[in-house]
Structure formats: structure tokens, C-alpha cells
Amino acid sequence: MTTDLRLTGAVSGLFRERYPQMVRLAALLGADDPEDIAQEAFARLIHKEHTLRNPDAAVAFVRACVCNLTRNRHRHLRVVRQHTHAAHDEASSEHLVMLKEDHRELIAALATLPARRREAIVLRYWLDLSEREIAAAMGISPGAVKSYVSRGMDSLEQALRGKV
């Protein structure tokens, strides 16, 4: 038996339940405006709510939107930085200053990873998603997830070793 999300009002419920998590996901992925990303993702969910059959699919949809939108946003910012010399990286953000010292190093190192490695690591170690769920969010195969996580962790270790 499927559920019509619109009829049950599940989208607003889902929003209450998941919006903060999606904002935080966008923040961990390095979005410069995490709330904008999360709102856009939920707006897209509202737009297609009648085609989704269950809340699990809706959550997966929003999560994938957050990943895609953040990745696209990074691409755009990279272009802007090349031409405006605008300096922005997570290491200099105000939030980083508020972290514990060892956490600060780790988050700064995470910010230097290629986008897909960073995504895989955040989805794996913050959201505790399965490889299959991560694959769904990133639009890649579960085998590739394994590779991104493994290489990402190697890079983090190397980056931290370099700080010692």
C-alpha cells in the first residue's frame, strides 16, 4: 500500500523532522549557504511530491538534491573565485574557529578533499548511511562509494600527518 505524501501532509512533517539535518548536511559538504540549499531541495520535493510513494523515497530524494545542489554550487564558486580572486574556504570560516582544536584540523582537512570524497565521508560517518544509500545520494555505484570513502580517509590521514 502506497502513501500519497500530499494527502497525508507528510511533506510538512518530513520538513520538520529532516530540515535541520539537511541544512547540516549541506554545511558539512561545504555549502556557503546551507539553508538555501536545503530549502531548494525541499521546494523540489514539494514540486514532485505526488510522484513519491513513501517517506523513505522522499528522504532519499531530498538528500540527493542536497548533494547535487551543493556540488553544483561548489563548481560555480570555483569559477567565481578564479575570476574575482575571492577568498573563501572553510578553514577561514567563523564556524571553524568555534570548534575544538583537533576537530578544527580534521574539518579543515576534510574541506580540502575533492567534492565526491568529502560527500562520501560525510554521508558515511555523519549520517551513518549504508553504501547503497550513499550511492543513491551521490548517483554513483556502491562500489565507487567504497573507493571514495577509502581514498578520502587516506587523504585525511595524510593531511593530518602533515600537520604533526
Partner: protein, 411 residues
């Protein structure tokens, strides 16, 4: 001392807690959604500063001037100064196969004529990062009363900065209804079985002579893909959507209508919670134990951390095969109850054997695994499963690629 994983979890949790949450977020989201309904095109909330937009245009023009080639014809649109040039304003559209009504309501039809791919901000990101090396081709997807126009192209993504240029297959959904409105992903022309996209939209590259592509769901329902091609495409690109979270078997037919290969799409949400039956430990790995559970005729395997789950219906087909990554690349699954030994013959001819273990009384199955394959088997669907009884007789000999979607899960 904590492991890196533990420290990472703590750091991520702390960093996440610092993200502010706007109390009016719901109202803003609803307002944004209404704006979307009024306009058929995505109007992003992220506004590019004018200078930045001009920079984007400059880069795209420069990139296209440098790359040239098919699909990069400069056709400025009137009154659209900020539009990246080099993106064709009209694109060749290949006729899709004749619509074939199905239970899932998925149809494929070609657009009525040449149309322009989107030029919104979201699209511009993708056009710039993976400049089209082919034509940008529109494909109409239909599901019930819903219709969506999805644009596809291929290009090289060298944005990683490591000098490696990798061919990407890109898709862009005008209305943003499929998982974020579009993205690009690496694809290998040598492996036409590469499939991208999860959830309801799946997209892949097939051989040039492919005329139709069909997805068969575990229920037996089928969904026909829209098959398109265009200038510069190394093969046919196919797209399909179906309202299922389960796996699907992809079947290709050539121009003569003959079967021309099969592929598998892993299911996305076909998980079932552990604990509905007594668990049977199947094998250990560095992080714990992989345990099998049975629930309503579905067999699932879980790692100790819950990080890997698989579920397959075994009530009608006791032979199942899964591939996972625990210590290395492992194969495991179920077989009929009279099987005592399973041999996996990989494409290079090597054989790996494992004895089966007892499963649940009355289930009609035994479990097998793990068979660990050194290195990465590039084409696991070409591996063969051979089952033996206690007398050493061969009971079944099948390639993984010939198993149905409800029987096999090869990541």
C-alpha cells in the same frame, strides 16, 4: 586513543551543530515552491552576482573556443546576454522507440521538434564544468500523467585539477524533478553497461546499434526506456524511470530486435529491518560479522555496523548471489537446500569454492559464502555459479548475468 573514524564522527557532529536554522524556513520553502509552479523553469534561490555571471560567460566562451568540436556551435539567444554561448540553441533530437504502454506507466516519446536546452543557473554550472563534447539531446520521459524533458550530453570533466580528463555522461532535468535537477558522472565507453542515477531516474550508455532498452522489475512489470542519440555520441543513451525502489534487470535489443545483452540496476531502498528472524552468522570480517535474516520471503545480509544491507526475494528462486565489500570483494548468497558446495568461476577461469551452511528450517535454502576474489572483478556478471550436491554432482551452472534482478545484487 580514538581512531580517525571516531574523531571524524565527533568533529562532524560538532561542526553540524553549529549550522544555524531559520525558524521561518518552512514558509520560505513553500514560497520558493510556489515560484517554481508559476515558472516551468528552475529559478534558483542562489543568485550569481552580475560580475560573477559575466565571468561564467567569459569562461564558457573561452572554453568552447578552445575545445570546438561537435555540439559547441555558438548560437547566441536574442536578449540573453548572460547566457553561455556555445550551447546549441536548438539541438538534434533522435526519435525514441515507439511508446509501449506498461503497467508502470513509463513511456518514451521524442519531443515534437527541436527545442532549446535550459540556460538557467543550474544548467550553466553543468555546461561549464562538463562542456558538451556532443550534441545536447532532449528526451521526453513520461510516467502516468507526468511528463519530463531531460537533456543529456557527454563531455570531459577536468575540474578535479589532477590533469585527468574523464568522460562524463550528464543529464539535466528542466523541472528539477529527478534528484536535484541533474548532474554528471563518469562513464566508460568501453563498458556500455555503466549505469548512472538512482531513485526513479536511471540513465546509461548502450551500444550504437541498440534500438530499445527495457527494465524488468522484480514484480515482472516492465518499463521501456527512452533511447536517444546525437552528434558525437559514442553509443545510445537510454533513460528510464519507474516507481520502484527495487532492483531492475536491463535488457538491450539491437536494431534487428534481437536481444543484445543485459545489465542490472541495484535496488535503492529494498532494505528490511534485521531482527525479524533469527540471524545466521555467515562470515566474519574486520568490522564484525555478516549475518543473514529472512523476512516475508526476503533474504537480507547485514554487516555488524548496519552499513551494508541487501535483500532479495527467495521464495520462488532459492539461488541468489550478492557481492559486497567487507574485507575485500566477497560473494555470498543462498542456494536450494540440496546444495552442499558452491563454486564461483570468474571470467579469467579461476574457480573459488565454499561449502554451504544450514539456514532456517523449512525455508528450502542453505546459505553460501564468502567467496573472496582477490582484486576487483571488473565484469562480475560474467562469473559463473556452479552448485554441487553431497554426491559431487553438478546441480546448476549459471552466469550471474543470467540471474533475474530478484536473485542477484552485484553492487
Amino acid at each position: 586513543m580514538n581512531t580517525l573514524e571516531d574523531r571524524l564522527r565527533e568533529a562532524l557532529t560538532e561542526r553540524a551543530s553549529l549550522a544555524p536554522i531559520d525558524p521561518d524556513a518552512w514558509e520560505k520553502t513553500v514560497a520558493r515552491s510556489r515560484r517554481r509552479f508559476r515558472s516551468s523553469r528552475f529559478q534558483p534561490g542562489i543568485i550569481i552576482p552580475l560580475a560573477a555571471a559575466a565571468a561564467v560567460v567569459a569562461i564558457v566562451v573561452a572554453a568552447i573556443s578552445l575545445t570546438g568540436g561537435p555540439g559547441t556551435i555558438s548560437t547566441p539567444r536574442p536578449g540573453a546576454d548572460a547566457t553561455p554561448r556555445g550551447i546549441p540553441s536548438s539541438v538534434p533530437v533522435t526519435s525514441a522507440p515507439t511508446p509501449n504502454p506498461m503497467d508502470t506507466g513509463v513511456l518514451g516519446t521524442a519531443p515534437p521538434g527541436p527545442q532549446s536546452p535550459p540556460h538557467d543557473v543550474n544548467a550553466e554550472y553543468l555546461y561549464h564544468m562538463v562542456p558538451p563534447a556532443t550534441a545536447i539531446v532532449g528526451a521526453h520521459l513520461k510516467s502516468g500523467s507526468e511528463s519530463a524533458l531531460v537533456w543529456v550530453w557527454l563531455g570531459y570533466d577536468d575540474s578535479g585539477g589532477n590533469g585527468a580528463r574523464q568522460l562524463n555522461l550528464c543529464w539535466l532535468d528542466e523541472d528539477g524533478r529527478y534528484y536535484g535537477g541533474g548532474t554528471c558522472g563518469p562513464i566508460q565507453v568501453a563498458n556500455m553497461g555503466d549505469i548512472q542515477g538512482e531513485g526513479t531516474l536511471r540513465i546509461g550508455l548502450a551500444q550504437k546499434d541498440t534500438s530499445s532498452v527495457t527494465a524488468t522489475l522484480p514484480t515482472g512489470a516492465t518499463a521501456s526506456a527512452t533511447v536517444v542519440s546525437g552528434r558525437g555520441f559514442p553509443g545510445k543513451v537510454w533513460l528510464v524511470n519507474f516507481p520502484s525502489n527495487d532492483a531492475a534487470q536491463i535488457s538491450y535489443r539491437n536494431a534487428a530486435g534481437q536481444p543484445a545483452g543485459q545489465g542490472l540496476i541495484p535496488g535503492m531502498l529494498s532494505f528490511l529491518p534485521p531482527g525479524h528472524s533469527s540471524g545466521i552468522p555467515v562470515f566474519g570480517y574486520s568490522g564484525g560479522t555478516v549475518t543473514a535474516y529472512l523476512n516475508d520471503g526476503k533474504l537480507g545480509f547485514w554487516g555488524s555496523t548496519g552499513s551494508t544491507t541487501y535483500a532479495k526475494t527467495i521464495s520462488q528462486a532459492p539461488l541468489s548471489a550478492f557481492a559486497g565489500w567487507f574485507n575485500a570483494q566477497e560473494y555470498f548468497g543462498s542456494v536450494p537446500a540440496d546444495v552442499t558446495r558452491v563454486v564461483l568461476r570468474v571470467p579469467d577461469g579461476q574457480e573459488y569454492s565454499v561449502r554451504t551452511i544450514a539456514a532456517w528450517p523449512g525455508s528450502g535454502i542453505r546459505l553460501w559464502g564468502p567467496i573472496t576474489i582477490p582484486g576487483n572483478t571488473q565484469r562480475p556478471q560474467n562469473s559463473m555459479v556452479i552448485t554441487y550436491n553431497a554426491a559431487g554432482q553438478v546441480l546448476q551452472q549459471v552466469t550471474l548475468g543470467s540471474l533475474t534482478a530478484s536473485q542477484v545484487q552485484l553492487y
